[in-house]
């Protein structure tokens, strides 16, 4: 079974600064997908960024980028020019590719609470 670990329960950043959230995972599969989701206090789970494991190029979405290290099974999220609206719980998640042992479900980490200070 796959596991996802987020070792930082809480992180804080000053507005306009850069912060990196860590995520590691364990799998024996070679093809899979990784995601970062954001969950503000409203509870809505919002997709931030996704990465296909077969792509070596790191995904980017505006101020959000990832550092995907497949051999190290590491998938960190970098938020540049942090904004007050970035404050939320961030979850790292894993999904097997079609044909994988647990295709379908997402396996989530424990989450990291991000606080943004003005």
């Amino acid at each position: 079974a796959q596991t996802v670990t987020q070792s930082q329960p809480e992180m804080s950043v000053q507005e306009a600064e850069t912060v990196t959230l860590s995520c590691t995972y364990d799998t024996s599969e070679s093809d899979y997908y990784l995601f970062w989701y954001k969950q503000p206090p409203s509870g809505q789970m919002i997709l931030v960024i996704r990465q296909e494991a077969y792509k070596q190029q790191n995904a980017t979405e505006n101020r959000f980028s990832v550092n995907f290290q497949k051999a190290a099974k590491s998938f960190s999220l970098k938020i540049s020019d942090s904004q007050l609206g970035d404050a939320a719980m961030y979850f790292c998640a894993y999904r097997s590719a079609p044909g994988g042992t647990s295709y379908g479900k997402l396996t989530f980490g424990q989450g990291t609470i991000l606080t943004v200070h003005p």
């Binding site: 809505q44 996704r50 979850f91 479900k105 997402l106 980490g109």
Partner: protein
């Protein structure tokens, strides 16, 4: 609407009551997922449908939990004889069919917050 919708948003139940939680997926999304999220934790997978077929129910914690999607669109998660440990947010997500671009991405609803007293 454009997104996944869930109802009710909040539900208070007395221990022992049965509850039914509804999920309306995004139109055209054939895959539907249910997750349970305890306070301060990451969501935990409960079950997964493709159209009306329940392909994986390995995450259902007990036989008190039952999910259905009879016509391949709306889904209902039913919890019988609720217990205090069932208190959580229940999240529904949907995704495009396999073979479509971004089919692996799940889009979530706002959740139903269940409190069992």
């Amino acid at each position: 609407g454009a997104g996944v919708s869930q109802s009710p948003r909040y539900k208070v139940a007395k221990r022992g009551q049965d509850v039914a939680l509804r999920c309306d997926p995004i139109s055209g999304h054939v895959s539907l997922f249910w997750y349970q999220q305890a306070l301060g934790q990451g969501p935990e997978f409960l079950t997964y449908f493709q159209n009306e077929a329940q392909l994986d129910k390995s995450g259902l914690p007990s036989d008190r939990f039952f999910a259905e999607r009879p016509e391949g669109s709306v889904s209902t998660l039913k919890i019988q004889r609720t217990q205090q440990e069932d208190s959580a947010v229940y999240l529904c997500a949907s995704s495009l069919p396999q073979g479509w671009e971004y089919q692996e991405t799940q889009y979530f609803g706002p959740g139903t917050r269940l409190l069992v007293l």
